[in-house]
Symmetry: C2
Subunit: 201 residues, 2 copies
DNA sequence: AAAGAACCTTAACCTAGATTAAGGGTAACT
DNA sequence: AGTTACCCTTAATCTAGGTTAAGGTTCTTT
């Protein structure tokens, strides 16, 4: 199999990302290339809306996305922020081909790389490296999610905020406090109070 | 490769479990067999304690386990119950070989099948089916965990309790309310109140 | 440049759920 | 068979965080 030369430059971050796990050879890359589509996303644009089936694995090349759910009263609850070199997908909806309960929305303009379900299944069947890499990627995401659940159970809002600042110092600059509050599971008003109390100490 | 005939009967549930995903052939089973150890577990026995590295993937053949974290004040927070044909492992600790923050404890006496880290890595390297199967298993677990996080964010305690009864009718019979309360993120006293209010309606 | 939309903060008041305490019931080791 | 440990419930009191409302500020879009 031959690789287009040069490989389109927008794909480099994705290949680099896979190489962090099990390095890809020329054949893997040749298989991957025609199955990846680049897409530009504007601020506030959705790449997934409640009720739609999540059709793509979305790899974020640039920009910042929020994955959130809207409750019965219309309140938004951020479950995850996704930035450069990470995946923004509703895995449940994608694999079960069921309507999603989630929204994925761009907080900043950005670029993503999309792989469609049949294409990803093709990759899984034709090169075991993709099974391996996505297994490890999802293990990492599982651990991240589990830590988030543990924190929301075991730690109060002030400490969750401090932990967030420590774990995501860059995000805390990049995001409005309303979004951070939603991620922490509190109101913007209460976050404001926490911030005031922290300063006055 | 030849399979011991008969295959030890205690292993049947594990093979059946894998067959739910990508069916195993004789070679896969031959590879798996010598790497699985059966273990009997008594009520209240730990298969993982905080501070220890999680050394095994534990498949539950019978019994019921809780995975929980102890907070700074000594309170226990159940993050998951594990029963027949499911896995009870701290994936983060296992893969990173770091001390766990979690306890895994038997609520009932039971049997588990254990696979050690080097053995699982061997299986991953020597048959891509294991990568595939564990990828899908972990995807399912990720979705389960994500739904749990969504619920704890978007839904109040009464509705979470009702959802628990609906989703795990069997567990709600099998477990004391103290354990269910801990899973729901509330105190046993408050669960008691919820139950009373539900009855009086 | 103006207008609107989103964001941040403060403060008074409100509520879901925690805490403490106490009594009675039930399961499990000796 | 007895006793210890766990479990369930009720009720009074308390608190972390929510709600509402209002004023000021800063982005965004036209």
């Amino acid at each position: 199999m031959s690789i287009p030369n040069p490989v389109p430059s927008y794909i480099a971050p994705l290949i680099a990302h896979f190489n962090d796990y099990l390095p890809m050879d020329a054949e893997d890359i040749a298989m991957l290339l025609p199955r990846v589509v680049e897409r530009k996303v504007k601020r506030r644009q959705f790449i997934l809306q409640e009720g739609d089936v999540c059709q793509h694995y979305n790899f974020v090349v640039s920009g910042c996305f929020k994955i959130y759910k809207v409750d019965e009263k219309g309140g938004e609850h951020n479950i995850q922020f996704v930035t450069e070199n990470d995946w923004a997908t509703d895995i449940g909806s994608f694999h079960a081909e069921k309507p999603s309960e989630l929204y994925i929305e761009a907080i900043e303009p950005g670029h993503i790389l999309q792989i469609k379900r049949p294409d990803l299944l093709f990759l899984y069947v034709n090169s075991p490296k993709f099974d391996r890499n996505f297994r490890v990627i999802i293990e990492d995401k599982f651990v991240e999610l589990q830590n988030r659940l543990l924190q929301s159970f075991c730690v109060n809002a002030t400490e969750r905020y401090l932990a967030f600042l420590e774990q995501y110092p860059e995000l805390s600059q990049r995001l409005p406090n309303t979004q951070i509050a939603s991620y922490l599971g509190i109101t913007p008003e209460f976050l404001s109070k926490i911030r005031k109390d922290l300063v006055s100490k």
